[in-house]
């Protein structure tokens, strides 16, 4: 399927929802896509099933500091250079690219890369949402090597890394990113079609599209975007209320925080607390965990269903908190070791959200 401008806008909204409070703003990738489309390029999504076994799949992303990302915008050739140098090293042409994360800043960039490089984008990704660290991908948990990976800057310099493991790849990449002025465009986690079938979380781009479209169409029809979103996402309404407190502290270079929400309407007299570190990690209602990572905990404006990132949470906002199940790939012991509550410091067993929200669905 091909995406048009409206689809790109919808995907960006949906990706922000899947960002689970973090991930960065899909805005930049969206703009790159719009410009590419207006220049006659095409954004072609391809289903995982259609990918040949021996195809060479190259995920692409931007990495570096958000502040530089919103200032020194890309010139469009970087992802292409990263792609080419990798193709030259490996000796194969890329069949398709794919996002590493479905939520956040890197959800929309690969769509632009595909358009500029004239290759399709696989409808899927490596997280099904956004996560803060590079190894938190199903690619990684399914044994896909981080390297060889390539990096490019806007001046036309490019670099290839063949590292022993992910740790070394990230270490080198980070240093190079600084040298490249704070931002680098990477091609990483290359895999074959066969590996992709195992490792990719399927249909997440079209999921983002579906979610974004649901919110927009509901608004256009004068219906409740929140209701429509819940209906379409298979998610669960966890709470609605007013934020009465947001506390943040910096620990180990990360911003950790907690938002307290006082229930409204049917949740009157109840309190929900969300703890976050970039992304929302756990939601606790009256002392009991109602949702935890790796499931998606999403905070939305109660009127417009626009997602609110953790850095935008403020006193007084009227919000709805919904939960969506993560992909089953994360529910395996290997998956939970990487992104389960314990990794983030919560000494609790992971319980899938469907089981926590008994009965589930709309209240």
């Amino acid at each position: 399927m091909e995406l048009n401008e409206q689809d790109v806008e919808d995907v960006a909204v949906g990706a922000a929802i899947l960002g689970s409070g973090g991930g960065g703003d899909p805005y930049l990738g969206k703009l790159m896509c719009l410009q590419a489309l207006r220049r006659g390029k095409r954004i072609r999504l391809v289903d995982l099933e259609e990918v040949p076994e021996d195809a060479f799949i190259v995920p692409t992303a931007g990495m570096g500091t958000p502040i530089v990302l919103v200032e020194k915008l890309p010139n469009g050739s970087e992802p292409l250079n990263a792609l080419r140098i990798l193709e030259a090293y490996v000796g194969k042409k890329a069949y398709a690219t794919i996002p590493i994360e479905a939520g956040g800043v890197n959800s929309t960039i690969p769509l632009a890369v595909g358009a500029l490089a004239d290759i399709p984008i696989i409808d899927g990704d490596g997280m099904g949402r956004a996560f803060p660290e590079l190894q938190m991908t199903t690619f990684f948990t399914h044994g896909v090597a981080v390297s060889p990976m390539s990096m490019a800057d806007e001046k036309g310099n490019s670099l290839l890394i063949s590292a022993l493991d992910g740790y070394w790849a990230e270490k080198i990449a980070r240093v190079v990113t600084i040298k490249f002025g704070g931002i680098a465009w990477v091609a990483i986690y290359t895999m074959t079609g066969r590996q992709a079938r195992e490792a990719v979380i399927p249909r997440t781009v079209s999921l983002a599209l579906k979610l974004g479209r649901a919110v927009r169409e509901a608004r256009e029809m004068g219906r409740s975007p929140l209701d429509h979103l819940l209906h379409v996402s298979g998610g669960f309404e966890l709470f609605t209320g007013k934020i009465v407190d947001v506390a943040r502290r910096i620990a180990g270079g990360f911003t950790r925080g907690e938002a307290k929400i006082e229930g409204l309407d049917s949740y009157r007299n109840e309190t929900l607390t969300i703890q976050f570190q970039n992304e929302n990690l756990v939601a606790v209602k009256d002392g009991e965990i109602v949702a935890s990572v790796p499931d998606l905990i999403i905070v939305l404006d109660v009127e417009t269903a626009q997602p609110i990132t953790t850095e935008r949470l403020r006193y007084g906002q009227r919000v709805a908190v919904i939960g969506m199940p993560c992909h089953e790939k994360w529910r395996t012991p290997e998956g939970l070791k990487v992104v389960g509550p314990r990794y983030f410091g919560y000494d609790v067993e992971y319980v899938p959200i469907e089981r926590r929200v008994k009965g589930g669905g709309l209240k």
Binding site: I85, A88, Y89, G91, K155, G156, N157, S158, L159, L160, I161, S162, A163, L164, W168, K171, I172, R174, V175, V176, I178, K179
Partner: protein, 365 residues
């Protein structure tokens, strides 16, 4: 004429290269250590061929170390060079260039050795030439830069086998290459090897300083033999390089300072023997750049070589120099490739200016 360089020859090369390193080029201690490992792998040594014997359709690459000498000393060196060499070789093979030879990027007590080490392990010959005819502080102060040999692509590796290959947009942009290389070397813990500047026979003869390995050996042998005979090793060195003796004196002072992130240094000598009562000052940035007489006259500048050795015959790098040592300063002409090129002096000016020297090139008489 192809020749087998074994233990004796390569030791002489190391000491000769230390002298021609003009104050830099890495420590001979590290060079000798690498030689030990080389001989373990290949006891008969390495074949050296002359520039003329190297074919126009054949390809050679240089391999060098990068990082901190201290780390080099502690960690050792070896696998880095192999990994870097293999990486650049596979890459160039994809482009249709099969690399079959190696050569040193510069002359120096350590840096002359990595290509020999790789050559020994790979059973390949080394070509009697190098990229500078001396040691140099920056990628822009090389004959590669002057004569248009691109530094891109460049392969880097650490001892574990982590490999980075980078391409600069402008293949001649050595500053960018150097920047990237230094950054990557920090990720590699300040100890790594890099391989680049692939040349064929025609390019090698056109751009590189020729027959410099054998020159190093001649110098090293002359010094050694003088010492063995009980003669004057300094005189022997001067003759072997075809240079002039500038001074003999005691090191009175060595100081270093950092200007805009660069380490500059200066050492001062107080004359001994026939030079009693006189002083001499040398400014260096890794390698020695300019030498001033006690009256403030510039006696020699880069690209010519300002070399130092102890009076009893040990070539010195600035890192190994200590206050109180009695040393000789020898000036020798740079390879004619430097002197023939119109910008041969110009590429050094930015360093000299930071040292307060704004004058012209002072050729060795």
């Amino acid at each position: 004429m192809a020749e087998k360089f074994g233990k004796r020859e390569l030791e002489d090369v190391i000491w000769g290269a230390t002298l021609l390193g003009a104050g830099g080029g890495g420590s001979p201690k590290n060079g000798l250590k690498l030689l030990e490992d080389l001989l373990k792998a290949s006891p008969e040594g390495v074949t050296l061929i002359s520039p003329e014997e190297f074919g126009s359709e054949e390809y050679a690459v240089m391999v060098a170390g990068i990082g901190s000498p201290k780390v080099l000393m502690e960690k050792g060196f070896g696998p880095e060079a192999i990994y870097a060499f293999e990486a650049i070789s596979s890459l160039q093979a994809l482009a249709g260039k099969r690399i079959t030879h190696l050569y040193p990027g510069e002359l120096g007590g350590f840096n002359v050795m990595p290509p020999f080490y790789v050559a020994a392990l790979k059973g390949m010959p080394v070509v009697d030439a190098d990229g500078c005819g001396r040691a140099v502080p920056e990628l822009e102060t090389t004959l590669f830069y002057l004569y248009g040999i691109p530094s891109s692509p460049c392969a880097m590796a650490d001892s574990k086998g982590n490999i980075v290959i980078f391409y600069t947009r402008n293949p001649m942009d050595s500053t960018m290459a150097e920047n990237i290389a230094r950054h990557v070397s920090t990720a590699f813990g300040m100890g790594a090897a890099f391989a680049t500047w692939v040349v064929n026979g025609e390019e090698l003869r056109r751009a590189l300083a020729l027959n410099t390995v054998t020159l190093c050996r001649r110098v090293g042998a002359a010094i050694r033999e003088a010492k063995e005979r009980g003669g004057d090793p300094v005189r022997a060195a001067v003759e072997a390089v075809g240079g002039v003796e500038l001074f003999r004196g005691k090191v009175a002072d060595i100081s270093t300072r950092t200007v805009e992130g660069f380490d500059f240094g200066r050492f001062k000598l107080e004359g001994v023997g026939g030079y009693q009562g006189k002083t001499l000052t040398v400014e260096f940035k890794n390698e020695n750049m300019v030498v001033w007489s006690g009256e403030g006259e510039a006696l020699a500048t880069v690209p010519d070589l300002i070399c130092t050795m102890t009076l009893n015959g040990t070539p010195l790098t600035n890192a190994d120099m200590e206050v109180g040592m009695e040393i000789a300063v020898i000036a020798a002409s740079a390879s004619e490739k430097w002197r023939k090129h119109p910008e041969g002096f110009k590429v050094w000016k930015h360093i000299l200016e930071k040292m307060g020297y704004t004058g012209d090139y002072v050729p060795v008489k």
